[in-house]
């Protein structure tokens, strides 16, 4: 069952010579599916995540496309109608290190307000559910009475994750939830998420620049480059057979645990200026497999087996059944 369907979504920053940060993105998230959204910093992941939750802030604006969540078109619904669906259907976890918690309210009251404004619940039920979600993320129940500044960065982020679970949402969007945290805490949170998945069913859009991290958690990976989706593939098969040259480069740049002292390989070059209209393939200037046609023809996103790839060269490499254009 498809829970979220994003169709041809484009997001601009500004009106005069706008930065087109998200370009005709289409993707789906099934119920109970964990999807990872990866790509270099600045490729439009956060912009896309916020636009899906209709949290884009000026100068960002959705210029075209639709976001349908549980049969409701979120791009075509006014704020007032949308309000009851927020947190109930879609909750978000902001990048770690951002101050997502109100500094003058206790954790408990920030849990309470969202619960009482969405349903009529007794103080007892509020407390019960608050304890439940705190237990899920392994945070002491005592934080209920604490203020955000009294918690460490890792604790805060776990509290924020707990808060996102409060109303048992259908979809949680997490934008780099572990990026600012140290490796140990990062690992704990990842294990946490896996365990929570066993207790409660929800879909997850996990945004990160760290492909290695994403691969450990998610079922399916969406790779973004310069505002476009360049590859969509199941996590397992992606690890074995990445198709897009950019995905391959990302995988090669992972510090490989098995290879002792594996050299860190960056991707040479820089992404294109998003203010410009793209001519040909966006990745062509950095691509090791670039051909003449890549400079002039914009590659469509095509199905290669169960995967989808936006590359003129590699999509032809290994014929896996019949190719046909998805978009």
């Amino acid at each position: 069952m498809t829970l979220v369907a994003v169709q041809d979504l484009s997001v601009d920053y500004g009106r005069l010579k706008p930065v087109r940060a998200v370009r005709d993105v289409s993707l789906t998230i099934a119920e109970n599916e964990f999807v990872g959204l990866v790509g270099e910093s600045g490729c439009g992941k956060s912009t896309l995540g916020f636009a899906i939750a209709r949290l884009e802030r000026p100068p960002a604006r959705i210029v075209s496309g639709r976001v349908v969540i549980d049969d409701l078109d979120w791009t075509n619904t006014d704020a007032k109608t949308l309000r009851p669906h927020r947190w109930q259907d879609v909750s978000v976890v902001l990048q770690s290190g951002m101050n997502a918690l109100n500094p003058v309210m206790t954790i408990g009251s920030q849990f309470r307000d969202v619960m009482v404004q969405h349903a009529s619940v007794s103080p007892d039920e509020v407390l019960q559910r608050s304890y439940e979600v705190l237990d899920m993320v392994n945070v002491s129940r005592q934080v209920i009475g604490r203020y955000p500044h009294e918690l460490s960065g890792g604790m805060k982020q776990r509290v924020v994750i707990a808060m996102s679970m409060l109303l048992r949402p259908r979809l949680i969007i997490m934008d780099e939830p572990t990026t600012a945290l140290d490796m140990v805490v990062q690992r704990q949170i990842l294990e946490n998420l896996k365990r929570i998945r066993e207790q409660q069913s929800f879909s997850l859009l996990f945004i990160s620049h760290d492909l290695g991290l994403v691969l450990e958690l998610v079922d399916r990976v969406v790779v973004m480059y310069a505002g476009q989706v360049v590859e969509v593939q199941d996590a397992e098969s992606l690890l074995d057979s990445p198709i897009h040259p950019y995905t391959r480069a990302l995988l090669r740049s992972l510090p490989d645990a098995q290879r002792d002292g594996g050299t860190f390989e960056g991707i040479p070059g820089t992404p294109p200026d998003l203010r410009e209209e793209l001519r040909g393939c966006a990745f062509a200037p950095r691509c090791p497999l670039v051909q003449a046609k890549c400079q002039t023809t914009s590659p469509p996103l095509v199905a290669v087996g169960t995967a989808q790839v936006r590359c003129l060269v590699t999509s032809q490499e290994v014929p896996r059944g019949s190719d046909h254009t998805v978009r």
């Binding site: 949290l55 009851p84 879609v90 918690l101 500094p103």
Partner: protein, 330 residues
């Protein structure tokens, strides 16, 4: 508690420094109030009769004792709020003169300051929440305009048109001449009638500052992540505006407000002079004109006291409203 103790020590320290300076400065200044008074009575250039001078010095309590013993004596007087006799309102004591004037100032300027803070902050919240809409444009440009008025000019214009030309409000005083303060409905209405215009000028001229400041803080706070998250949580607009935006945006203004309350006494000068309002500012004005040193000294001490105590109150208030400065929770 440790925070409180620290602030309190600081308060006592500043008070002591202020009181000491208040003692030293007039005594380090050249001239002798008694000779000033003699000169005033007898005209300049007349030979001064040493006996008469001594009599006046005794009367005014001017001492030729050592500075140290004067200082101890002074400290004792300050603690008892005894600043000697006023020269100009002789034989009333400075304490009596201040006691008569202070309530009027606290009532008029104090209330106006509180009112302008409440109205200004409220409108600032509204303007920021509806930013770039009609309400915001009107309210913001209007307050930028009133904020630019020089107060003295504005007050004089108000008096000229509303009191002098149209006679809607009395020209001077805190109550009708010939009546004396009682707790009757008639008298209270009379006081309100007299106080309305000066209060209005204060509120109008200081409201704009609060409004613009609050609007600015609000707009900065609207960009905070926790406000974005509050929207994502699907909270009601009013709740977000109040608990997430305004509640945080007002924090920097709390200190400013407490300080403004501290400057009520000092800041009353212009208003009270323009409206001949019998408060501290008016008394200070007269004391300065008439070289009434004891009265000046007493009033300066009151002003400094108000500022320092308000500062202390601001610190304590901040602890109440901002959990981040609370330390050593019980």
């Amino acid at each position: 508690m440790r925070y409180f103790a620290r602030r309190f020590t600081f308060l006592i320290g500043t008070l002591w420094v202020a009181i000491t300076l208040n003692f030293l400065i007039p005594r380090l200044m050249p001239g002798n109030p008694a000779s000033v008074m003699m000169a005033k009575f007898m005209g300049r250039g007349q030979p001064i009769n040493p006996a008469a001078l001594h009599a006046i010095e005794v009367m005014l309590g001017i001492s030729h004792a050592s500075l140290m013993s004067q200082y101890w004596q002074y400290l004792g007087q300050v603690v008892r709020f005894n600043f000697g006799l006023s020269y100009t309102q002789f034989p009333y004591s400075v304490r009596y003169v201040i006691g008569q004037a202070l309530p009027w100032t606290l009532g008029l300027v104090g209330l106006s300051t509180i009112l302008s803070f409440i109205i200004g902050t409220g409108l600032g919240i509204l303007a920021a929440w509806r930013r770039n809409k009609m309400t915001d444009t009107i309210v913001t440009s209007l307050s930028a305009f009133t904020n630019a008025f020089p107060y003295f000019w504005f007050a004089l214009v108000a008096v000229y048109f509303l009191s002098f030309i149209h006679n809607w409000f009395p020209l001077t005083g805190a109550y009708a001449i010939g009546t004396s303060p009682t707790f009757s409905i008639g008298f209270i209405l009379d006081v309100i009638h007299h106080g309305f215009l000066p209060a209005l000028t204060i509120v109008i001229s200081s409201m704009g500052g609060w409004l613009l400041g609050m609007r600015n803080n609000m707009i900065n706070t609207l960009g905070e992540d926790y406000v974005l998250l509050a929207t994502a949580k699907g909270l009601k607009n009013r709740w977000v505006a109040g608990m997430y935006v305004a509640r945080n945006a007002i924090l920097p203004n709390i200190t400013g407000f407490a300080m403004a309350l501290g400057f009520v006494v000092a800041g009353s000068l212009l208003t009270e002079v323009v409206f001949a309002y019998p408060g501290i500012g008016y008394a200070l004005y007269n004391a300065v004109i008439n070289e009434d040193y004891p009265l000046m000294q007493g009033i300066f001490l009151i002003i400094v006291l108000c500022v320092i105590v308000a500062n202390f109150a601001a610190d304590l208030l901040y602890v109440l409203v901002d959990p981040r400065v609370r330390r050593g929770r019980a």
